[in-house]
Each structure stands twice: as structure tokens, then as C-alpha cells.
Amino acid sequence: MSADSERSRRVVFDVDLRRRFEAFSLRMDGARRRREGPGRSSHFGAGEEWAGFRPYRPGDDPRQLDWNLLARLDRPFTRITRREVSEQWVLLVDRSASMGVGEPGKLQASAELAAALVGLGLRRGARVTLLASGRPERRLSRRTDLADGLAWLEALTAGGDEGFGPGLRSEPVRRAGRVVAIGDLADASARALMELSRGGREVLLAQVLAPHELDPPLGPVRWVCPETGEALELAVDSNLRAEYERELNRELEGWRARCAVHGVRYLATSSARPFEDVALELFGGAP
């Protein structure tokens, strides 16, 4: 196996990446605070916690109006709430062998996205559980646990053929209010993933593909499946590539349609995209 593919199988968070994780979570949290004044938060959770009052502004949810204060002061006030500290997030990371391909590797891109969400979740006071097949789960609840979470992610290596594995049916997943599954969805069970959305649980699905999977190069290529070791050598010309793109589109459209039916947010992305862009797009701009 070449040095490049060996690198693709591992996760490395350098100093610059760690700074970006911190900056991203700070920026997103600040944006949420500014946004959550008017209207209702878009986030699901086990409950909401009272945080204070502010004068009523047109557009506020009338249900948040404090009728006692209105009667007492004859002025409308809106209740300000924040998420309960007991909010539970679960981040599922696919670390099967097929995630160890691409430049940058799909596992690296998935781990970066997961790290950004860990930082964000801990900053919001959520309890975050990291899950990957073949690895013991890691529960994080304090902001200071971020380093533990990054270390856990950095220790991931691509291997095996389990995908999300039994983590989909684990106890933390059953109790979580938000589940984010990150992987290439190769041979993943769509049914098991869609079932996660039962019971009002928020499910987000990020399908990470290598650049050469989205845009295969022309010329002879020996396509290798790292999980099975099977290979298929093809001379990729423009016709073959166009046909591949059609077939891939069908595949991705299938995921998109299934997710739309089950209320799952879905994003197919390239491992070459910055995690900030992916996170924002996955959450519709408001993580």
C-alpha cells in the first residue's frame, strides 16, 4: 500500500485545524445567541430552560409572552430560554476501510466535521457521545472534554467493513436528541439509518465521497474496493465517465429521496471541502 493511501487511512489534527475547530464553534455559538432572541429555536431537545426576559418585539412567538408581567407592568415581555444542559448529541463516524481513500482521505474529512460538531455541542452545553465501530464510545459533557474528543477522533484509522456497525442501535443513540452520521454510506443500511429519525429525533446524514469518486479521472484506472480487496480495471473515457456520473447521481438521488421522506437532513459532499462549509450546509446555515 502506498504512503498516500496509508495517510488517507489516518486522522491528523494539526495546530491550524484545532484553531479552526475553536473558531468555528465560537462563531456558530455567537450566531445562535444573536439569532435565538426572536422566534423559536429550530433545534430539538429534551427540554428548554428559562434564561430571562426581554421586551416584546413584533414577530415574537405569542406563546413565549409572559402574561404575569404584562398584567403587572402593563408592558409585554418575551421569555428568553436556552437549551437544557441535558441535550444529548451522538456523532457516528464510519471508519470502515472504504473511508481510507481519497486525497484528502474521507476519514480525515469526516473526523474534521465531527470535531467541529463536538466543539459546537460542548460549547452549547450538550452531552456529546462519539461512536465508531470497533472503538469504545466516548462521552463528553464539559468544554474541557474537547481535547479528549479530538484525541479520540485522531486515533481513528480506516479498517474493517462494519460501517456504522452496531452503534446505530446503541443506548446513547436511543437517548439522543440529535444524531449526526458521517460516512461514505457504502453498503450502509438505509433502513437502519432512516429508523433513527423515529420519535422526533433530529438526524443529520453527511455522505463524504473522495474527489475521484465524484469526478473520476480519464485514462486507465484500477478501481479497488479496500473492504473486499476486489479490483476492476477500466479505461475511463468521456463516455464511460458520463455514464458513471449518471449512475452516481441516481445513487445519491436515492439517498436524498429517502432522507426527504424520513425528515433526515442529508448532504453529499467531497472530502476536499472545508469542514466549516460542510457543517453550515448540513445544518442549513444554523447549526
Binding site: S2, S5, S8, S98, M99, V101, K106, D184, L185, A186, D187, L209, A210, E213, L214, D215, P216, P217, L218, G219, P220, V221, R222, W223, V224, C225, P226, T228, E230, A231, L232, E233, L234, S238, N239, L240, R241, A242, E243, Y244, E245, E247, L248, N249, E251, L252, E253, R256, C259, A260, H262, R265, Y266, L267, A268, T269, S270, E281, L282, G284
Partner: protein, 435 residues
């Protein structure tokens, strides 16, 4: 006609395009690329009908064009020429007719060395050797054409030079032609080269008449007894009247013997009268010149072909031809001349005087006069024709330019196609779905 290369060392550069093609066409192991699942590719291969296999790499069009262009450029650098350019050119040497070249060459000190013609041949060989390199020579003496290599003079007799008819020098004014003259030409040629033998006055016999030989020396003519056979007028047995009588009278007056039998080499024939065609029937035609006319029957449709110059004709039909040493007549029958008989006799006598060759070993005084100093002029080279063949070297360069341009265009097309395909592929990546 083959190809010759001026700089064959450049051919080593052909290894560059050959190497490129070789490397490009080597069967290579395709690079490995990991993929999440092979299912998509398998379905694609099934739909397109492609079997996954290792195959020989196809040389792309732009690379083939590039290599072709490089090969053509290398050929151009090697400067190909048609082999014709390396074969020696042929030089036409046109020799001045008449006896002037047949006399002895007299140098400035009075020394003699061969004839003016031999001297002129050496000058020609020297001039051609300097200007043309290796060359073949085609010597023209009247109707006689002799081809030789550059090192040897032509085996031409003095008689061939004397009998040669007048030369149309303008026709021979072109590259690759050398005029061999006794004196510089009155009008210099535009393209032809010329050689003038020059030479001081050459004393010697000028005529043989009545058993005596006239010798010219230092401006005086002396006569000595001549013990050789007299010069001869050769008459065709079918010579018609009044030509026969007139020719015999003229020969007697000039001291010539007359014969009707062709003689051997020992006979010094200075003029021959010959007859062509058969006696014809029909109305006589009146031909005339110099104030006289003579009726003659001309054979219908029986045009006589001869290369000699016309002397007497009727409406374009020639009945008498002239050339040095020869008068040719149609068979006739001829009638009696009309008009002034003396005018006819004088005209014919002058003609025969003009046509008579100098007796063997003699040359007229005019031919023996001084011709001055030797001179020569080099005109346009005969190589010019083969220089055009060097333009062959430009063709590979032109082909190279076209091929390289096409290669660049083909490469650009491929790049645009790849770019378009990439853009199409990137447009397929899906955005997020929201519940």
C-alpha cells in the same frame, strides 16, 4: 531520384520522438484508486458493455502529432536534398562554327601549342571545373553533339567545326551554357558563360587552287606548288540542269576537280551538290531571287525535310538548301532561268563560293587573323537548377510547423473536453436535503 542529407548527424534527434512514442505506447499498470463500492462502476461497465481489462495504452492524437512534427523538424534540420542535386550537372558547350578555331594557337611570344580549339577546350574545362565542380559536358558543333566527362576534350574534327552551320547565340544564352569562341563576343550574353581562345595571327595555307597552295604570312601571300590531290566538287549524278553545267563551270574556274562518285577519306571534298526527292510532274513554279527566276516542278505533298537553311523557295516550299560544304536541290525538273542569265550565274557562283569549305589544311585569311588575348566570363551557374532542390529542406519544416500546431490544437481540445467533463461532474454533487 533519392534523398541525400546535408547534415545527417541531426538524425540522432529522431530518437526523441521515437522514445516519446515508445513510452506512450508501453502497456502500463493502471494506477490504483480506492472507491467506497465497486457496484457503481460494475453497473456502468455492464451498461456500456466494457470489460474490465488491462489494455495497451493508445497514443493520444496530440502526442502522435507532436512526435510527427518533431520527426519532420529533425528531417528539416538534416537538410534533405534530392539526389539530383548531387549528380553532376550537364554543361552545354556551344562551339563557334567556322575555321577560326581550327588554326594553330599562337601565343604572345609566337609559341604555338595545338589549335585554338584545343586551347579553348582546356579553358572551358578549367572554367567549368572552377564554377560547377563535377560536371558532364555536352559539346555542340553544328548538328554534332558529343557528351564527355569533365576531364576530357571532345573528339571533334576540324571539318566538323568548319561544316557547322551558323549558331543562334540568343537561344543559347542561359545558365549552364558555355560559348567556346575564338574572340570575345560582340554582345555579351546575359546568363551564359563564354571562353575566348584569343591568339595572335596564325600564318599558314589559305587556299589550294590549280595545283598550287597559297600561304599567308605576315600580311603577304605566297604560292607554292601543291603536290596533294586537288579539292573536289562532288556532284550528285541526278543533278538537274542548268545546275549541273553551272556547277561544273564554277568548279573549273576555282581549280576544283569534279566527281559524281562519293570519295573516301582521301578525297578532299570542299563542296557537294545533292538532290532530294524524285522527279515530279505538274505545273512549273517560278522561283526567283537576286533579279532572276527559274521554273521548277515541285512534288505535291512531297515536302523534303532537311535541317539546312533554305536558299530558294516558292511560297514557302523550299527547292534549294544551303549549308557549309553542301547545296541541296529538289529533283525538279528545272527549266531555263529567265531574266538576266548573268544575274543567275553570279548569284549561284557567289552561293557556291560561300558554301565551299576551305581545302584540307587551309583556312581563310580572315580565320587566321589575330583574336587578341584569351578571355573568359563566368555566367550563371548550372547549379542554380539544383539549388531549387534544396527547397526540399523547407518542406519538413513546414510539415513540422503544421503538425505542431495541430498537436497544440488537439491538446487544447482534449483539455477543454476534460475541463467540460469535470465541470459536468462537479455539477452533479448534491446539495443538502432538508426535511
Amino acid at each position: 531520384m533519392g534523398l541525400a542529407l546535408d547534415r545527417p548527424g541531426f538524425l540522432w534527434l529522431l530518437l526523441v520522438p521515437l522514445g516519446l512514442l515508445l513510452v506512450a505506447s508501453l502497456p502500463t499498470r493502471a494506477p490504483d484508486l480506492g472507491v467506497g463500492t465497486l457496484e457503481v462502476w460494475r453497473r456502468v461497465a455492464r451498461e456500456v458493455g466494457v470489460r474490465g481489462e488491462r489494455r495497451r495504452r493508445r497514443v493520444p492524437l496530440w502526442l502522435a502529432l507532436l512526435c510527427g512534427g518533431l520527426a519532420a523538424a529533425v528531417l528539416g534540420l538534416a537538410e534533405p536534398q534530392q539526389a539530383r542535386a548531387t549528380t553532376p550537372p550537364t554543361i552545354d558547350v556551344v562551339i563557334e562554327p567556322g575555321p577560326a578555331l581550327t588554326v594553330a594557337f599562337v601565343g604572345p611570344g609566337g609559341a604555338q601549342g595545338g589549335t585554338r580549339f584545343e586551347r579553348g577546350c582546356a579553358q572551358v574545362l578549367d572554367l567549368v571545373g572552377r564554377s560547377e565542380g563535377r560536371a558532364r559536358l555536352r559539346w555542340h558543333a553544328g548538328r554534332e553533339v558529343i557528351e564527355t566527362s569533365q576531364a576530357e576534350p571532345p573528339p571533334l574534327t576540324s571539318r566538323a567545326l568548319i561544316e557547322a552551320p551558323a549558331v543562334d547565340w540568343e537561344r543559347w544564352d542561359r545558365p549552364g551554357v558555355v560559348w567556346l569562341l575564338s574572340a570575345p563576343p560582340e554582345r555579351a550574353p546575359n546568363a551564359a558563360s563564354w571562353v575566348a581562345t584569343g591568339g595572335a595571327a596564325a600564318p599558314g595555307p589559305i587556299d589550294v587552287r590549280g595545283g598550287r597552295v597559297a600561304v599567308w604570312d605576315s600580311g603577304t601571300v605566297t604560292e607554292r606548288p601543291f603536290d596533294g590531290a586537288p579539292p573536289v566538287l562532288e556532284l550528285d549524278p541526278h543533278t538537274p540542269e542548268p545546275w549541273r553545267t553551272l556547277a561544273e563551270l564554277w568548279a573549273r574556274a576555282r581549280g576544283l576537280a569534279t566527281t559524281q562518285v562519293p570519295g573516301g577519306d582521301e578525297v578532299d571534298v570542299v563542296l557537294s551538290v545533292s538532290v532530294v526527292g524524285a522527279v515530279a510532274e505538274g505545273p512549273p513554279r517560278r522561283c526567283g531571287r537576286d533579279g532572276w527566276s527559274i521554273p521548277v516542278v515541285i512534288a505535291q505533298g512531297g515536302a523534303v525535310s532537311t535541317e539546312d537553311a533554305p536558299w530558294l523557295e516558292w511560297r514557302g516550299e523550299v527547292v534549294a538548301w544551303e549549308s557549309p560544304g553542301r547545296l541541296t536541290l529538289v529533283a525538279g525538273p528545272w527549266g531555263e532561268p529567265e531574266g538576266d542569265p548573268a544575274a543567275f550565274a553570279l548569284s549561284v557562283g557567289r552561293l557556291l563560293d560561300r558554301l565551299q569549305l576551305p581545302p584540307r589544311g587551309t583556312a581563310p585569311i580572315a580565320a587566321r587573323w589575330s583574336r587578341g588575348s584569351p578571355a573568359s566570363h563566368r555566367g550563371a551557374s548550372a547549379q542554380r537548377g539544383s539549388e531549387r532542390d534544396r527547397s526540399l529542406a523547407h518542406w519538413p519544416l513546414l510539415v513540422a510547423a503544421v503538425a505542431l500546431t495541430a498537436a497544440a490544437a488537439a491538446s487544447g481540445t482534449t483539455r477543454r473536453r476534460v475541463q467540460a467533463a469535470s465541470e459536468a461532474a462537479s455539477s452533479t454533487s448534491l446539495g443538502p436535503t432538508s426535511p
